[in-house]
Amino acid sequence: MDEALLRSLTPSMLGILVRRGADFAAAEDAVQDALIEAVRGWPADPPRDPKGWLVTVAWRKFLDATRADVARRRREDLVDEEPEPGPAPAVDDTLQLYFLCAHPSLTPASAVALTLRAVGGLTTRQIAQAYLVPEATMAQRISRAKRTVSGVRLDQPGDVGTVLRVLYLVFNEGYSGDVDLAAEAIRLTRQLTAAIDHPEVAGLLALMLLHHARRAARTAPDGSLVPLAEQDRGRWDTALIAEGVEILQTALARDRLGEFQAQAAVAALHADAPTAGETDWVQIVEWYDELARLTDSPVVRLNRAVAVGEADGPRAGLAALAALDGSLPRYVAVAAYLHERAGDLGEAARLYAEAAHQAPNFAERDHLTRQAARLNARRNR
């Protein structure tokens, strides 16, 4: 049984059923029933057209369920009156499903869960494992999300930006257990790129590929963080980098800049440098200026301060930092780094320890504590 094939067919089956007038939750149930029949029957009797088979069975399951429901008599009549639908282009269905799963009425956590379930075809258990929550919790989250969107008609496209934010959330979640969320986000974004022609979709895909290319070098064997400047560039995935850069260049050439393209441009400049010392920080600062213009995000300005520190020296970086709100996440870590580069080791060590105290995860906390320890050890020598 080809599980990957079934997973890849799930979103378009769902999309077709919903477009034929099925309620989202009912469509999902029908698709699940059809998949179960496929798992049972295919090994002995594989169909010539798997997708056509699945759609037919799922639609029959949906009709059976609807007809069995007496309280839905009216809807049954509606379904009966409708002419037999013709074939629909698959890409379009998948795209509609992306918009539905990222619907603005959903919370980000629900949108992410529903996207992984409906578009990604992951099981509830897999999603729960990836997010380290009990399966029952995730099942509730998904069924609430399904209820929320069950009244939404799939007849007009939604906001691409919302879809991209959901996919970026999935990518940033890291991974654990048997589902690699970063790889899953890349798979889904590739699928979206095929379904929609939009420079920001390409920008997000390029950004993910460029970040993903560095993954092997980003942690040491003991799980500790390796900062960009100290990473073994020989372990970067050059094929992914080349693909990311090419996708980005094609997108940029269309002259419709957005925040994901700009972020990917920064990532591409890092990927391009043979050594950390050869990084083109001046151009990176320029991209951060573009990003600040596009998003007005304080996090962008914090990153810009780091880039300014590299391009124009730590004092300039500290000056750029002084204009920002000190309570920003990672502000103290950036201040510590710039103070160290400026030679102020005592202050840097104190700030690293403070930053470790605020760190949002294990790896970062241990990394920052090590930085403080390293400077304290050097000062006491």
Binding site: D222, G223, A353, F362, D366, T369, R370, A373, R374, A377
Partner: protein
């Protein structure tokens, strides 16, 4: 089998023997400490005694019902003097003696100078449902 909670404290526990703050250790000493705890958890996972473990951020907030139609009341970050939990591990073991043994082992994680911290760990049994059959 009975479940026990092992609590690590940032503050509020008696001072450990090897009482040096972590940022005064060398980076190698920190790595050794982290590795020790990881190895400990891995071993318990293999023996089937590991249930779960999580680290907690040091900052917390007290929250209280604020009355009908009002937002919850908070007191802001914990005051410095309050007890503070750094993280926890849940084990599922055959006996209280085994729980004590494991807690003692975890408390021996190396710290400054590579010597065991002798950190105090709080060991709390889980309250279980009453048994279906009582003899």
């Amino acid at each position: 089998m009975a479940k026990y909670l092992l609590l690590k404290h940032y503050r509020g526990a008696p001072a450990p023997v090897n009482d040096v703050p972590m940022d005064k250790w060398t980076p190698e000493e920190i790595s050794a400490h982290v590795q020790y705890m990881q190895d400990f958890a891995d071993r318990l996972e293999k023996s089937g005694e590991f249930v779960d473990g999580q680290a907690l951020a040091p900052e917390g907030t007290w929250v209280q019902y604020g009355g009908a139609g009002r937002p919850p009341v908070t007191d802001g970050p914990f005051a410095e003097t309050k007890d503070l939990i750094a993280g926890w591990m849940v084990i599922d073991v055959d006996s209280y003696e085994r729980a004590i043994e494991l807690a003692g082992e975890l408390s021996a994680a190396p710290g400054a100078g590579g010597r065991p911290i002798h950190e105090w760990l709080e060991l709390r049994p889980f309250l279980a449902a009453p048994p279906t059959i009582t003899e």
